[in-house]
Amino acid sequence: MLFNSWQYLIFYPVVVLAYFLLPKKLKNLWLLGASYYFYMGWNARYIVLLLFTTIVTYAGSRILERHRKGWILLLTVAVNFGILFYFKYAQFAWNNLALLCKMARIPLRDRSFDILLPVGISFFTFQAVGYTIDVYRGEISAEKNFLKYALFVAFFPQLVAGPIERSRNLLKQLNKTYPFSYDRMREGLLLMLWGFFLKLVIADRAALFVDTVFGDTGKYGGLYIVAACVFFAFQIYCDFSGYSIIAMGSARILGLELMDNFHAPYFSKSVGEFWRRWHISLSSWFRDYLYFPLGGSRKGQMRTCWNLMAVFLISGLWHGAAWTYIVWGGLNGFFQVMERMTKGLRKWIRELFCIRENGFSHKLFSVLVTFFLVDFTWFFFRIKGLRSSFSVLKRVVTGWNPWILVDESLFQCGLNRKNFYLLVFSIGVLMAADYGKSRGICIRKRVLEQDFWFRWLVFAGGALFVLIFGIWGGTYDAKSFIYFQF
């Protein structure tokens, strides 16, 4: 079930209420049952996969604790990634193999695997594999209580779209149960409210514009696509961070603290910094379990660049079984490699023109350039098919139409004038909040410190704002969170 669905609005309060009413011994069991029910809301049969991954990694980790053998780890990881590969990449791999065979004139029949991708499989597989590696490294001891471990893998707020939690954080918290706390509830509700604002008011509104333009790139060229790319940057950010924040809020009320997955990413001054602020749980997973084992940045410049490219190409593939995602990942890696390689040159230019690295103008320039580069990569994330991406890019360059910025044209792309301005205003609110966050100001905490009447207004007014200005219900089909597909 989606967070922005009637089902969740009923499911979640029932889970919370029962959780606090049940005796301590049953609390985790209840959460596990609720999490499995939550997952079965999409496809009941795939619960078997979740259970299988849980059993394999649980058993593998118990064995690894006693016999720290590399082949046991390899086997456990291979089984899990094998499942992931079959469900997510088999068709893609076969299609590419067929293409290669065709080029080499080797006969290979077309084959349709016709597999329905299990929701959130990349998330729970990575979480479970990360735990197994932690046990192998001796960073944590293997969890003996199967139910507790199963809850760690399947905890419903973060099950299908992250954050990809670490055992050091979430599993440890499951050792305790938590009584009801009014303060936690307030904080959790405020987080959920902010998450719904991001998802319903910004992401789903931006989607109306983006889908219109990308849905007919033959009609829309030039600055239409540029505008759609800018809105897509905010759509995907708000969609994903909205989900993560609702997940954090949902967990917070239950007494659990999930990791913050985004830290004002569009205020990054380099692509490298962007990836330290964007989808932090995945970036840090790749850092800890892939980049560092490959040698990280300790083995010279060339090796570092190679490692970066490898990590981001795989990250691209993690996001989807298509060449556009690989290009997207590759570009992100390439930009970071270029940042490293041009470090000296950039320093020389700054000194030559007496540009202060910490000056406002340079920071602003860096933020804008980074946004431009990241947004360019988002283009490949959004476009369907690598071939069409090049023809659409050509239309961006050749379709000179600056007048659309001053006439009414932009209001004919899925959003009327009022909705367009509301979207721009809401993005302004988001950026103001993110600016505060990047300066260490937590608006949520500031709100909770205020007098009661102000808190009422924020809670009641915020909820009404989201209900009225959010895109939900009626003729509109609530869009799935984009990151479910990964």
Binding site: W456, L457, F459, A460, L464, I468, G473
Partner: protein, 418 residues
């Protein structure tokens, strides 16, 4: 404590926003029914045919019958059953008398969800509304019928003055649609030309019958004329048998000579214009009188009905000023409470509808002058020779003042007010 206040604040805000953002069709239609404390002896149930077909204000003036027209655009027998049930439950809840009679138009079925919204959005969520949503809404849309806010929250960008101050219908559920249209399909006027009743319509008529029986209400079936969908017209002829089997009174006015002229008494092919409505109301009044509905013109409440009828005349007189087409203007002069002086050039009478409308005005109450070619009209505004048609209109009870006056030009079928 503060959480409770936040919830209260939120609930209050939501209540206000829910009202403000809602589609206003339903509230405009039913608010008068919700607010009035009048006792209605007759309730009319049906679709837009009935909204434009039977006027309670005329019924009271001519027959002393106190009634309300519950019908709604695009809501047919099925929705009518639930609307009637809801209306009766409301009366019972408020301890008011139930009507003596329900008049149901048996036209069509197959309500679309948007039409259900138009009828139901102002009704609070009740067991009947839930039942209606479950049975009649298209797949996946029952929730939006029960909680219309889920649909209308996005209306914030379309709000107009009418959303803040809704224009409530004060005509007991009736709408006057000003227009003149020719029929565009076969008109079935032979009671033996029948077609089997389709769909679930009959089962819902049964439900209405049972509901009325359980409340001691007499059910009367009617079929108001129109000039499209011959199959629907044929189906209406099958209701004779049904009515006979169930000992119900049924009048299919398609087959009755009630003086309707299909060339000039319709707004469009489906709906009567105010002149057609008056004729229809007169016939329904006769029927109800014959069935023994009480004449209340001598009772205390008559004063209020009379006052409202006076306002109804003013309303019709005012609407004259907005009419820009000659034919529609001539149609609207066929009003028992208006007296007109009409000058018309003979060339206009070549149009069949205008000729018929002018002919009808020659009833002794109005004055009609046909001006020959070459002669000029003598309008009271002094613009001699500028018009092809000129009218001066008075209210019958107030001959001293002019309710409206104006001239029209006629150019190759285009007839606009100048």
């Amino acid at each position: 404590m503060s959480a409770g206040m936040a919830v209260l604040l939120f609930a209050g805000g939501l209540f206000y926003c829910n009202k403000l953002l809602a589609n206003k069709q339903s509230i405009q239609k039913y608010e008068q029914y919700f607010q009035t404390d009048k006792q209605f002896d007759v309730l009319f149930v049906g679709s837009s045919h009935v909204i434009n077909g039977v006027s309670p204000l005329d019924l009271f003036r001519d027959y002393g019958i106190a009634s309300f027209n519950l019908s709604m655009h695009g809501n047919y027998v099925k929705s009518g059953y639930f609307l009637l049930k809801e209306a009766l439950e409301r009366l019972q809840k408020e301890g008011r008398n139930l009507p003596k009679m329900v008049v149901l138009d048996v036209y069509a079925d197959g309500e679309g969800t948007s039409n259900l919204h138009n009828a139901w959005d102002s009704f609070a969520l009740s067991g009947t509304k839930k039942e209606m949503a479950k049975e009649l809404a298209e797949d996946g849309k029952s929730m939006e019928l029960m909680m219309p806010f889920s649909l209308y929250h996005s209306r914030w960008s379309e709000l107009k003055k009418n959303d803040f101050e809704p224009n409530i219908n004060q005509l007991y559920g009736v709408e006057l649609r000003y227009g003149v249209a020719y029929p565009n399909s076969e008109i079935v006027r032979n009671p033996e030309d029948k077609k089997e009743i389709q769909g679930e319509k009959l089962s819902y008529v049964d439900k209405i019958k049972s509901l009325c029986e359980s409340c001691g209400i007499t059910l009367v079936l009617i079929h108001i004329p129109y000039s499209y969908s011959p199959d629907w017209q044929r189906e209406a002829n099958s209701f004779y048998e049904y009515a006979k089997e169930n000992q119900l009174c049924y009048v299919n006015y398609m087959n009755e000579d009630i003086g309707l002229d299909f060339d000039i008494d319709f707004f469009d092919q489906g709906h009567l214009n105010p002149v057609g409505m008056r004729k229809m109301t007169r016939e329904v009044g006769k029927l109800l009188w014959d069935l023994g509905v009480k004449d209340k013109r001598q009772e205390a409440e008559a004063g209020e009905w009379e006052k409202e009828y006076e306002e109804f005349i003013d309303y019709r007189a005012k609407r004259l000023k907005d009419i820009t087409q000659a034919k529609i203007y001539l149609m609207s002069l066929q009003d028992p409470d208006l007296i007109s002086v009409v000058q018309v050039k003979r060339k206009l009478l070549e149009d069949v509808q205008i000729a018929k409308l002018i002919e009808r005005l020659k009833d002794g109450k109005n004055e009609v002058m046909v001006v020959e070619e070459g002669d000029k009209l003598l309008p009271s505004d002094g613009k001699e020779g500028e018009y092809d048609l000129y009218c001066v209109v008075h209210k019958k009870e107030d001959m001293g003042s002019v309710a409206d006056s104006g001239g029209f030009v006629w150019e190759e079928g285009v007839n606009r007010r100048k």
